[in-house]
Structure formats: structure tokens, C-alpha cells
């Protein structure tokens, strides 16, 4: 029996607005507990919500970046359930008229582009944070629970994909692409480790060829992209095993246990999912007129899909275009500058996504403060192309430029890395080496062409490594053959 996994991802994105969704409290990660609170986000008697306009603008931006339709008249609903970190014991959310709907996100997986449908993106408020004190930090064994309402009321965008994803690898790629997009729009810190972006997966399997969906299971508590992939993989396997054993998959929510590498069933009470949605009477409907929508659209930065297309058109392959597209904006800007300064696209992109990115990571530097201009990159590429530095020396030159030592040409000279590519200069050294190594020459002439490597090495030694090895090889081969 061949099984097809069917996966949908639900993403919660905390918006990095200055103030909360329905009150003026600051949105601030890591503040002292219960310091960014007020009657509204604490659910005090008599408090009322007022919609944060900036948050609405930003959810529209997210929706437009995902090619969604923006609803003309959108409404908030109360989602009613009791929980200690939900101050009003209802969450102001959206039910049937979300701000955005019917879009898509293109994701590159193994070199191919897969389109994942976006069902909706809606606006809601985040809850407070519960810290369970006791063994394991989970509610079952807790002796007490600490409640911090700093997060309560933070604007939260929930993005729901269609069940178009077909593998754990694809799920991960979708999550990463969405995170990059949201981060690039500037609407969220989108840090998994801080909880400003959170992923839940809905996983089901069905026999290949069947159109009816299998029973879906919701997976929560995946705190890294890797654990997302592992969890989805595990769940697919688990469900297949259940079904192949003749059992049925139970529709439930399961908790990913990173340490054990398994999903656990979460004991949820029956009937707890009737949220008794009704229109929020404390807020008026939002009119998202078309001129506002166009204003938001006009303010969007270049989106990853367009950018990727542009890179491919410039001569990069799909894979390199994707990697570059996902690179920090500052580095992409260097690429554009370099190409404008005449550099060929592929080497420029390779330098940026390779050595420069590695340097940034090593130095834990801020990409925006990287001291490399497009012109300098273009110069470096040209130098390698014309052979004035070897490719290994070029890496050192780059380091020097990044360290602020000057332009590539200057650095090559000051660090004595200029490659000798002058044929006449090298010819004499080649002659000398041939003269000094008659046995090697003899070996070569009797068919051991590999020995030329040794001779190249000798020339390199004689020139303190500054000879252009390709040229040396060429000259040696000529001399030995001729």
C-alpha cells in the first residue's frame, strides 16, 4: 500500500507593532513580568478594546505578499473558552470574515517550485504566558502556575495554509519561506525561539490515488524548523503504522516531544471546541477600502518570488537564486550593486552566499554593517577572472576587504597576494624548475603525466605561492611537451 501524506501548516505571527492589538501597552519581548499591562489587556471590569490600525495595515501587507484577497468589510468575533492566561476568557479573533483569504506561497523544494495555497490570514490577540511550576514544566504535574500578561493582547496574525503540502521537507521549506517573508516585510521579529512565530501542523495520510482526506491530527510544540520536519516525519510514519495495522487514526491534538522524538496524545476534554463565536459587539466592522489596500500594496518591498525571477533572468540557476533570495537584504543589495558595476551574476552570487555569509556567521556580524560594496565585489570577481589572484588567495583578499583594509586591489598588494600571471616572468622560473628536477621531467616524458603536479608545486614554492597555478601548469606542459 502506497501512502500519500497530506499536510497543512497553521502559523501564528506576532506583529512587532509598538503597541498591542487593542490597547496602548508596549509590545516587548523579555520584559519584567506583568509590567506591560493595563485594564484592557488584563481583562479588568469595564475595559474596552480599540483596534490598532497599524496592525491591520500589517496583516494586509502579509496577505498581499501572499497574493491574498483583502476582504472589504471584515469583522471581529469573540472566541469563547476559559483559560487562566486568557484574561477575558474569550479571545477577540475572526471567524467567517478574515481580513485576507485565498492566496498562495511558492516554495522551492529540491530545485522545484511547489505552490502551497493559503486559505486565510486573520487578525487576533495573543494570550498571556503560563509557566507551570513543577516536574517537567507541564500542566499535569504542576504545583502552581505563574501567569505573565505582558504578551496578552499582542497582535497575532494566524495564517492557515491549504492541505497542499506533501512531505516533511516541504513543510519545513514552507515554514522557512513564510518566516523569511514575514521578517522581510518588517512586520515581525519572526523568531521561533522567542515565540514571535509559531507553527502547528495538521497531518493526515491517505492511500495514493484517493481524493478523500484521511483523519487529520494536529501537532503542536515544534520549536525549531528541524523539529517541525522531524515531527511531521514521525507523525506520517505513526499514522501509516496505525492504518497498516488495521486501526484508525484518532482525530486529536498531539504534542511533539523533542527529546523522545515522538508525538504524545494531549488529553483534551470532550466538547471543549465549541467556541460559541459571535460578532464582537465592542468593535465596529473594519472597512478596508480599495484605496487603502492599494496604498499598502504600493508600500511593499520587492517580494521573494519576483526577486527570484529577477535573479534567474540575470543568469543564476533556480537553487542559487533561491539561496540568494533568502539572504539578508544588505547582502542582496551588494549583489545588485556588483551586477550594476559589471560583475557577472553567478560568481558575485556565489561569493555572497558562500564566503561572505560564512564570514558574517563566524564574526556574528550584522549583515547591514558588512564593509563590502558592490564595486569592491565586482573588482574581486574581475581579479579572479583575469588571474591576478588565485581563488584561494581571493578568499584572503575578501577577508582583508571585510576587515576594512581597503579595496581588493590594495589588499592584494599589501598582503602580497598578487598572483604572478605574467607569462614571461613565470617562464624563467619554469625553466629553472625543469632544470632542477631532471628525474621528474624524465617521469613525465615516459608517460607519468601526473608528475606535472609536483613540478607545479615546485614552481609555486619558488614563487612563494604567488604564481597562477593554471598558467604554470600550462607553461610546464608546453615546455615538457615541446
Amino acid at each position: 500500500m502506497s501512502w500519500e501524506p497530506v499536510i497543512g501548516i497553521e502559523v501564528h505571527v506576532e506583529l512587532a507593532t509598538e503597541s498591542k492589538m487593542f490597547c496602548g501597552c508596549a509590545v516587548e519581548f523579555g520584559a519584567e513580568p506583568n509590567t506591560n499591562i493595563c485594564p484592557v489587556c488584563l481583562g479588568l471590569p469595564g475595559a474596552l478594546p480599540v483596534t490598532n490600525r497599524r496592525a491591520i495595515e500589517w496583516i494586509m501587507a502579509i496577505g498581499l505578499a501572499l497574493d491574498c484577497e483583502v476582504t472589504e468589510r471584515s469583522v471581529f468575533h469573540r472566541k469563547n473558552y476559559f483559560y487562566a492566561d486568557l484574561p477575558k476568557n474569550y479571545q477577540i479573533s475572526q471567524f467567517d470574515v478574515p481580513v485576507c483569504h485565498d492566496g498562495f506561497l511558492d516554495v522551492v523544494v529540491d530545485g522545484t517550485i511547489r505552490r502551497v495555497g493559503i486559505e486565510r490570514a486573520h487578525m487576533e490577540e495573543d494570550t498571556g504566558k503560563s509557566t507551570h511550576v513543577g516536574v517537567g514544566g507541564r500542566i499535569h504535574a504542576a504545583e502552581s502556575t505563574l501567569l505573565d500578561f505582558n504578551r496578552s493582547g499582542t497582535p497575532l496574525v494566524e495564517i492557515v495554509s491549504r492541505p497542499d503540502i506533501r512531505s516533511a521537507v516541504e513543510a519545513r521549506a514552507y515554514a522557512q519561506e513564510l518566516r523569511a517573508l514575514v521578517s522581510e516585510l518588517g512586520v515581525s521579529d519572526a523568531r521561533l525561539e522567542e515565540g514571535s512565530i509559531r507553527f502547528d501542523a495538521n497531518v493526515s495520510v491517505r492511500p495514493v490515488g484517493q481524493t478523500v482526506l484521511g483523519v487529520k491530527v494536529e501537532i503542536k510544540n515544534m520549536n525549531s524548523f528541524r523539529s517541525l520536519e522531524r515531527a511531521v516525519d514521525f507523525e506520517i510514519a505513526r499514522q501509516i503504522e496505525v492504518l497498516e495495522g488495521g486501526g484508525t487514526v484518532v482525530q486529536e491534538t498531539r504534542h511533539w516531544d523533542e527529546e523522545a522524538g515522538v508525538t504524545h496524545s494531549m488529553r483534551t476534554k470532550e466538547g471543549s471546541s465549541d467556541y460559541r463565536y459571535f460578532t464582537e459587539p465592542d468593535l465596529v466592522p473594519m472597512v478596508l477600502d480599495r484605496s487603502w489596500v492599494e496604498e499598502v500594496r504600493a508600500g511593499l518591498p520587492e517580494l521573494p518570488a519576483r526577486r527570484r525571477e529577477r535573479y534567474v533572468a540575470a543568469g543564476l540557476d533556480e537553487g542559487l537564486a533561491t539561496v540568494l533570495s533568502q539572504s539578508p537584504a544588505a547582502l542582496r543589495a551588494v549583489f545588485d550593486e556588483a551586477v550594476a558595476a559589471g560583475a557577472p551574476a553567478r560568481p558575485a552570487a556565489n561569493w555572497l552566499t558562500g564566503e561572505v555569509t560564512a564570514w558574517v556567521r563566524r564574526e556574528e556580524a550584522d549583515p547591514a554593517s558588512v564593509g563590502l560594496t558592490g564595486e569592491q565585489l565586482a573588482e574581486l570577481v574581475a581579479m579572479v577572472e583575469e588571474g591576478s589572484v588565485s581563488s584561494s588567495a581571493a578568499k584572503e583578499v575578501l577577508e582583508g576587504v571585510l576587515a576594512g583594509e581597503g579595496n581588493p586591489g590594495e589588499v592584494a598588494v599589501s598582503r602580497d597576494l598578487v598572483q604572478i600571471s605574467d607569462t614571461s616572468a613565470l617562464a624563467s622560473v619554469v625553466e629553472e624548475v625543469i632544470g632542477d628536477n631532471p628525474d621528474a621531467v624524465e617521469s613525465y616524458r615516459s608517460g607519468e603525466s601526473k608528475v606535472v603536479g609536483f613540478l607545479v608545486g615546485q614552481v609555486m614554492r619558488a614563487t612563494q605561492g604567488k604564481a597562477d597555478p593554471k598558467l604554470v601548469n600550462q607553461l610546464l606542459t608546453e615546455k615538457l611537451s615541446g
Partner: protein, 489 residues
């Protein structure tokens, strides 16, 4: 001249002429309260210190020429569902026993800015759910006209205080008639303004789409002046009206000549006491004599308004009262789990009527029942709005009794919730439509109990409403006051 029996306008004149100081005014009012509270129990909290400080400040401000308007130095009572910073606010519930809000409701801030002297917090039906103030978790309030009878509800405490003279004016809240009905039963003026014109920020919510704060007073002019102080756009309330607010007192003395007035036919007949119907009918006749064109109008949706209300209000209330869970403030019962803690807290903290309505509201919103109950009620509400719109295309104002009966005896209706709900049959329609309405006292029945006359007007039609109300007041010439009951209970 009995100082506690002064109107706001009269007191204001004496304050400005220097014949009386704000402190003296306050002391007279506090003395009246002292003498009557044992019988009436209008107040839950009297803030002597805060009131004296405010009165003293009003005196020095006035002396320095700083005149803050009609409520400057005037003793005002507040229904205890309005948040007052640092002063216990209970909504007459055990679940908020000892709760001191860290902020003032917007209307409270406005009163303070207007130099009003806040005497204290008055009794109400728990969470404003009721029509007699018998649902208070802190004991009932009684009617100054007959202390064996209810003052009406849910703003019964505010009504009793004003009627007795232990405040010159008070604020109440009206969700289904909770200002107008007690005003009618205690022989004073009470009004519900256009929905959205008075901020709900700081009003402990009962039904968000219906609640409105309004004044209770001894005269139409007092009510208009008070409304002028408390109304206005509030950015903290997203349902607050942001357009232009009309001039409230411009047409007050214009009279009704040339106006078209509609008598609602549905608001009469079975269940209406003959004395009430006769008094209202007589007043309608006099309005006609005074130059108004009077017609009878049928608004058929009024017959289903009560049912729609008793689905919408409890539904919204069930969500609004969910926050009372013992976690962050108020009463907290012990529990082995969070769920047990919450359940026990609410079981202990909520009274029977509140429990009834929360359950009813939760049920009306449940999966499978939403369409039949809450969904349907909203459709009825839309139909009621249409009915009003049709009526106002034919008349300028609508009139009716405020309450089908005069004040009933304490204990008479507590065991029959539905009979209690029928008290609001005249007042509920304008809560559902969001339009303004006022009750004006027009006389006493032969038991000596007050009868109230209701005037309704279209949205933002307060000037029209006041104009008719002022004429009713003039025609009625009702100036009687209850004898201050000084008999110890």
C-alpha cells in the same frame, strides 16, 4: 427651603450667588442620607472623605472664579457598576467584594473634571440584571414613596437616592430600561441616551450592544445638563459616536405645537394598570391640546422585542461575565485545578439571576442553537429598527407608559423571573434600536405611587426628546416629594 430637595439648577444658582457653599450642600445631602439610608439602603458606599475634598475644592475654585459648569459642586451619586479609582466597585456582586478599580470610568473622569462632588456608589441588581434591585448581593433597596415597595431596577439605588434627596442627581445604566423604569417608579426623571453617545469605558459590562449610561434627576433640564457633561466621543470606546453632537437644550422651551407625536398601540392593554393607562392617556390628550398632532401607531415588532432582548442580552452577558474567574481580581475560591477554582469561584460569587442569565446566554450561543436563538434574535432586532424607522418617518416622537405598573411590593416578583422581565416591556424596544428615550413623572396613583411617561425619539434626536419631555413636565406640574422616612427599621 429644603436643601436636599433642590434641583441641580437651583443649587447651582445658590452656589454662584454665595448663599450656600458646596460643603454645606454636601453636608445637607449627607445628612439626608444619614436619616434615610436605614430604610432605603440606596447606597453601597458613601465616600465622605472624597466627597468633602471635592466639595472643598469646588468652593475654592468657584471663589477663584473658575466655573466648571452646571455640575460644579453638585453632589452626584454613581451606580456601583461604574469604575471609580480606589473606591470599592462591586456591581452589587459578591464576586467583586472589596474590588477597587485602578482607574476611573470615562464618565467619572468627566464628572470630576466638571467639578462634581461624588457622594458614593449606589445599589443595583447584581451586574445590572433585574428590574427591582432585589437581585443585589448586598440587600435590596426600597422605594422612598413606600418602603415596602421596590424602587425598580436595575438602577434602583440611584433612583432612591435622588428621589429621597440623598443626591441631587445620579448616574445609572440602562440596558433594557434600568434607568427609566426605576425613575418612573420613584417619581423622577431618567433617560437613556442614543447608543454610543456616552462612553462605556469603565462601565462594568452587562450587554455590550445595549448598555448605556444616563442621568436620573428631578427635572428635565437637570437631566439635559447632566447629559451634556457626560456625553461625547471617547477614543477608548470603539462604539463611541464620533460625529456631531446636537445642542441639548436649544429647543427645551419650544413647546410641542406643530409636532407629530405617535402613541404606540402595542404598549397598552393587558398587564397595564388602569391608573397608569389613564394618566398616560390624559397626558397625551393634553399634548394634543398644547398643539401637537397626536396619532396612534402600531409597531408590531414591539410584541417580540422582549424575547429578542432576553436572548441577545444574556448571550453578550455570558461572554462579558466570563472574566470573573477568581484569577486576577475579586473573589477567589480554592480549587484543586484551575478549572475547579474558576467553577467554584463563580458558583460562590454569582447570585441566582446572574447564573440564570449566563447559562441562558451560553446556551443561546451554543453550536446547534446559535441560528435558532441568537441569530434569530438579531434578525428580530433588525426588524425592530425598521419598525422605528417607519414610525419616525411619520412622527417626531413616540410616547407610552414607562412601566406597565407602579412600584410593586418587595418580594412579589422575585420567584417569578418572567413576571419580573415584563416590567421592561415598554423600555426594551429603544435599547434594541439604540434610540434615546426618557421617563418623566406625571403624577401619583391613588396609592400615592408615581407614574412615569415615556418619550422616545430617533437616534441623536435628544433635542426633540427633551422638547416633548419639557412640555410634559410643564403640563404635569409634578413637584411632589416623598416624605423623608425617618423611622428606624
Amino acid at each position: 427651603m429644603s436643601i436636599p430637595n433642590l434641583t441641580v439648577v437651583e443649587a447651582g444658582e445658590l452656589l454662584r450667588s454665595g448663599e450656600i457653599s458646596a460643603v454645606e450642600l454636601l453636608d445637607a445631602v449627607l445628612d439626608r442620607a444619614h436619616r434615610t439610608e436605614a430604610q432605603l439602603h440606596a447606597y453601597l458606599t458613601i465616600d465622605r472623605e472624597g466627597a468633602h475634598a471635592a466639595a472643598a475644592e469646588a468652593d475654592s475654585e468657584m471663589a477663584a472664579g473658575d466655573d466648571r459648569g452646571p455640575l460644579h459642586g453638585i453632589p452626584v451619586a454613581l451606580k456601583d457598576n461604574m469604575c471609580t479609582r480606589g473606591v470599592e466597585t462591586t456591581a452589587a456582586s459578591q464576586i467583586l467584594a472589596g474590588y477597587r478599580p485602578p482607574y476611573d470610568a470615562t464618565v467619572v473622569a468627566k464628572l470630576r473634571a466638571a467639578g462634581a462632588v461624588i457622594v458614593g456608589k449606589t445599589n443595583l441588581d447584581e451586574f445590572a440584571m433585574g428590574s427591582s434591585t432585589e437581585n443585589s448581593a448586598y440587600g435590596s433597596s426600597y422605594n422612598p414613596w413606600d418602603i415596602s415597595r421596590v424602587p425598580g431596577g436595575s438602577s434602583g439605588g440611584s433612583a432612591a437616592a435622588v428621589a429621597a434627596g440623598s443626591a441631587l442627581v445620579a448616574l445609572g445604566s440602562d440596558t433594557g430600561g434600568s434607568i427609566r423604569q426605576p425613575a418612573a417608579l420613584t417619581g423622577i426623571v431618567g433617560l437613556k441616551p442614543t447608543y454610543g453617545t456616552v462612553s462605556r469605558y469603565g462601565l462594568i459590562a452587562f450587554a455590550s450592544s445595549l448598555d448605556q449610561i444616563g442621568p436620573l434627576s428631578h427635572s428635565v433640564t437637570d437631566a439635559a445638563l447632566t447629559l451634556g457633561v457626560i456625553w461625547g466621543h471617547d477614543p477608548r470606546d470603539a462604539t463611541s459616536y464620533a460625529g456631531e453632537y446636537p445642542d441639548l437644550t436649544a429647543d427645551l422651551d419650544e413647546g410641542v405645537a406643530g409636532m407629530r407625536i405617535g402613541v404606540v398601540t402595542e404598549l397598552s392593554g393587558e398587564g397595564y394598570e388602569p391608573a397608569v393607562e389613564q394618566a398616560v392617556s390624559a397626558m397625551v390628550g393634553r399634548l394634543g391640546d398644547a398643539g401637537a398632532e397626536v396619532v396612534e401607531l402600531s409597531l408590531p415588532t414591539f410584541d417580540i422585542a422582549l424575547s429578542a432582548y432576553y436572548l441577545i442580552a444574556p448571550a453578550e452577558a455570558s461572554a462579558n461575565l466570563a472574566r470573573f474567574d477568581g484569577i486576577r481580581y475579586g473573589h477567589r475560591a480554592p480549587g484543586a485545578s484551575t478549572e475547579a477554582l474558576m467553577a467554584r469561584t463563580r458558583a460562590e460569587g454569582f447570585g441566582p439571576e446572574v447564573t440564570r442569565r449566563v447559562l441562558l446566554g451560553t446556551y443561546a450561543l451554543s453550536a446547534g442553537y446559535y441560528d435558532a436563538f441568537y441569530g434569530q434574535a438579531q434578525k428580530v432586532r433588525a426588524a425592530i429598527r425598521d419598525d422605528f424607522a417607519r414610525a419616525y418617518s411619520q412622527v417626531d416622537a413616540l410616547v407610552s407608559p414607562t412601566s406597565p405598573t407602579v412600584a410593586f411590593r418587595a418580594g412579589d416578583r422575585v420567584d417569578d423571573p418572567l413576571s419580573m422581565y415584563l416590567s421592561d416591556i415598554c423600555t426594551i424596544p429603544s435599547n434594541l434600536s439604540g434610540d434615546p428615550a426618557i421617563s418623566v413623572p406625571i403624577g401619583l396613583d391613588d396609592q400615592g405611587l408615581p407614574i412615569g411617561f415615556q418619550v422616545m425619539a430617533p437616534a441623536l434626536g435628544e433635542p426633540t426628546m427633551f422638547r416633548v419631555a419639557a412640555e410634559v413636565e410643564r403640563l404635569a406640574g409634578f413637584t411632589a416629594r416623598p416624605e423623608p422616612a425617618e423611622v428606624a427599621r
